[in-house]
């Protein structure tokens, strides 16, 4: 797929790979439960699910260190969970509960857990890329080695903020790793109908920025690529644009059945589902099937337990709507 496809997985041992598997499975189950909750009308507004893209979130966030930051889009459940946000409080936020990550004032599109470096999910396409530069600017100003990881979709590469942010990051050599999750569709529109370049990573050339184009469904490759980009950023060598090729198994949002997909496309991508791929790799590396089965069962149970807890939490106090407008 790319020149980096043969990159070695690095120092990720078997136990760590099992952690990645667990995280991806938890996210998959979490998203499946969200899908049910929305379909049942239990949850308000809209939601944007990320089944199929778990390897990008888990591999990239897994390459960060304490003190690093992550920003993502309204399709941000996976990235927020991958930073370590608790399953129950994340469900709680989507259910609009007082114990939710944001006290029920953010919802599905604004999941944030600053205590874990998950600095926010942003619902204006491209709006957070300049903010990710600001996290990098603070690190540079203070002389820390903190890295700002920024996820966005393929559609974001056509909005002005993308170009302003990458230009600024490059000219100032900010420690930012830009990760474009190319899932082939900007909302309902296939990439080729909106975007004149097929290789989105090549947009880095316009900013004299380092670039990588990788298989985003290979969690170990994602991890190794982001680890290398983060190391460059920490060393003062500036930002990187990483294009991670992946696919969302569901439509854009709750109201989208994804009828615009060519026949057979989903099936092709299901064969490249990142979770079975990692399981196969683990088996090949000597992990036992029983261990994988246990991880799978534990992940599913953890999600179900978290959802039950979150459902039982009280609604926010009405007075809370007046709080947090100003400091």
């Amino acid at each position: 797929m790319s020149k980096t496809a043969t990159k070695p997985a690095g120092e990720v041992g078997l136990e760590r790979q099992l952690d990645f598997l667990r995280a991806m499975l938890e996210i998959r189950h979490f998203e499946d439960e969200c899908h049910r909750l929305f379909a049942a009308g239990v949850v308000r507004g809209s939601t944007h699910l990320g089944q199929g893209q778990e390897a990008v979130s888990v591999g990239a966030c897994g390459a960060l260190r304490e003190g690093d930051t992550m920003t993502c889009t309204y399709r941000g459940h996976a990235a927020t969970l991958a930073m370590g946000a608790p399953l129950d409080r994340t469900f709680g936020e989507i259910l609009g509960k007082a114990e939710g990550l944001c006290g029920g004032k953010g919802g599905s599109m604004h999941l944030t857990d600053v205590s874990r470096g998950a600095m926010g999910s942003f619902a204006i396409v491209g709006g957070h890329l300049p903010i990710a530069c600001g996290f990098g600017l603070a690190a540079q100003h203070r002389g820390t080695e903190e890295v700002s990881l920024c996820f966005f979709g393929d559609g974001s590469t056509n909005i002005g903020a993308f170009h302003e942010a990458l230009n600024l990051a490059s000219i100032w050599k900010l420690p930012v790793v830009f990760v474009c999750e190319n899932n082939l569709y900007g909302e309902y529109s296939p990439l080729a109908s909106t975007t004149p370049v097929e290789r989105l990573a090549d947009r880095a050339d316009a900013f004299a920025m380092a670039k990588e184009r990788i298989d985003g469904n290979d969690v170990l490759l994602v991890h190794a690529t982001i680890a290398a980009a983060a190391a460059r950023a920490r060393a003062g060598e500036g930002p990187t644009l990483v294009e991670a090729l992946t696919y969302r198994h569901k439509g854009h949002s709750r109201s989208d059945p994804a009828a615009y997909r060519p026949e057979g496309e989903l099936e092709q991508w299901l064969e490249r589902d990142p979770i079975p791929r990692l399981e196969q790799a683990l088996l090949g590396a000597g992990a036992e099937q029983e261990r994988l089965d246990a991880v799978r069962a534990e992940a599913e149970q953890a999600v179900l337990d978290a959802l039950e807890r979150a459902k039982g939490w009280p609604d926010p106090a009405l007075e809370s709507r007046l709080e947090h407008v100003y400091a």
Partner: protein, 325 residues
Amino acid sequence: MSEVTYKQAITQALADELEADEDVLLLGEDIGAAGGVFKATEGLWERFGGQRVRDTPISEQAIVGAAIGASIRGLKPVAEIMFGDFAATCFDGIVNELPKYRYMTGGQVTLPVTIRMTVGAGGGFGAQHSQAVENWFLSIPGLKLVVPATPADAYGLLRAAIRDPDPVLYFEHKGLYNLKGELSGDGAPLALGSADVARAGEDVTVVATQAMRHRALAAADALADEGISVEVIDPRTLVPLDLNAIRASVDRTNRLVVVQEAAFAGTWGASLIAKVVQDGFESLDAPPRLVAAEDTPIPYAEALEDAWLPSVDDIAAAVRATAAF
């Protein structure tokens, strides 16, 4: 303390905050080596260096976004938007990210960002470099709006804005940059949300900001000769607005005129009148009047621009009519 200009007061406030707090940094187009297109940051780059007084690309979205991110990590960025009209190019950052971020996250972040921008007609800059854009931001809870009219206020309110834990938009009126005045003796920051009674009076309350404050004072001088005593109140900040000071004045004069350098619809003046009428209708002896600019973009030619702006005569006529009602 000696007299300084409004512009020098701004430069001094920036220098004093840069000196006082390592976390303060300035971002903007040509603010560094060039000292700013209006020279409001002159000398700061030489004194504090290019890491703290940062020249940026012409990228307003990047400027505002970088300020937002840096503020969340504990810095106190002061971003400059060269002309307020250019805020339209980074509207998302100013209205969707900056003021909603704290709320949407349930208070997980604070955003001590100051955004300076120049506003104001009267200089022949044409329609895209002249608008008083503070009204664009009135309906966005989470922002504070500062509109200084004197050197002392420019200094004290800018220091307060930079120290404030919330996002503050700080509007500098280009027509006032060379206005001279004394700074207060102690140089302390002023409180945001405290109106200034620029002139005490008995018959009519006139509320005005920035250039219009000075025109209102000139009108009050002229009207004094006619036996009309005008109280001029400058709110100094539109958010928070010192409604108590305005109400207390109107409770005495029972007459209100508001003057603004903007057309009528969707403005702080229209909102203020609505609030006073709704809450204190019985205290009014005359319909409140809003002296506003005309409903057009700002024209270029001097005679046209002068005609567009509310004049001293326009203000005096409105006050006379209100007093005589």
